[in-house]
């Protein structure tokens, strides 16, 4: 069954305290070359047939992500 992947991450101008907490932990572990962390969500949708891009965008932008604060990226199956 084809899978569609949707990645959601806070827009760059919205601060991400969870990512910053991870960055702080990395520093304490000695990974000082990591200078930034953004945390997001990764959805994997199992779909029947070939979904239209319009429908997937609607799914992503009306429920999976909040376009006010989040960027969303669709990864469609290879045609």
């Amino acid at each position: 069954m084809p899978q569609v992947v949707v990645d959601v991450v806070l827009k760059p101008e919205i601060s991400d305290p969870q990512g910053q907490a991870v960055l702080g932990a990395l520093g304490r572990l000695g990974h000082t070359r990591v200078t930034g962390v953004r945390q997001g969500k990764h959805f994997v949708l199992d779909v029947e047939g070939t979904p239209s891009r319009e429908e997937l965008e609607q799914i992503a932008e009306t429920l999976l992500a909040n376009p006010v604060i989040e960027d969303v990226e669709l990864h469609l199956p290879e045609a």
Partner: protein, 223 residues
Amino acid sequence: MRIGIITFPGSLDDVDAARAVRLAGAEPVVLWHADHDLKGVDAVVLPGGFSYGDYLRAGAIAARAPLMQDVVDRARQGMPVLGICNGFQVLCEAGLLPGALTRNSHLHFRNRDQRLRIERADTAWTSAYGTGQEIVVPVKNGEGRYVAAPAELERLEGEGRVAVRYVGGNPNGSLRDIAGVTSEDGRVVGLMPHPEHAVEDLTGPSTDGLGFFTSVLKAVVSA
């Protein structure tokens, strides 16, 4: 006057909100999220809690509940709607209010009595107060940090859409100390703190919260 209080799966302040409505002198009407029936109410309160477990984003799934479609339609026609805490998150997710609520900047759940300043005393839910009046009501949230893009914040400030601001400390890192915002027409208000928990001396830090619920009585009569 009939004021509806919507219960979503995971709402937990719906009974307190109904009690506040009754103490203010209106008739609370219990509404169920999965119905398509506002039962002829004059206004609606969206209570605090964790609707649908807040599993996707706080308020995101509730904002797409069947009854919310009716609330959005009626709100756009001028029906007063108050969203408290999770209810505020639902109103932002539903597009009735600008911005969004995200994880607190310190990542901790924060609960305490909170001082607030009423910035707009001409909304449907704040007319019982004076502009600049300070009140104390409880605040309790884990995802209460109000955010919006810088340009959007400027627009909101310019239009006077900040209804309530934190004073004496910001509990969650909300931008510009914003505790609550209002719609353009002043009929829809959302705030993170809990006025419904400050309506009786016995159970709250004050009775300062009652004004939100008495305000709407005038708003409906004058509509």
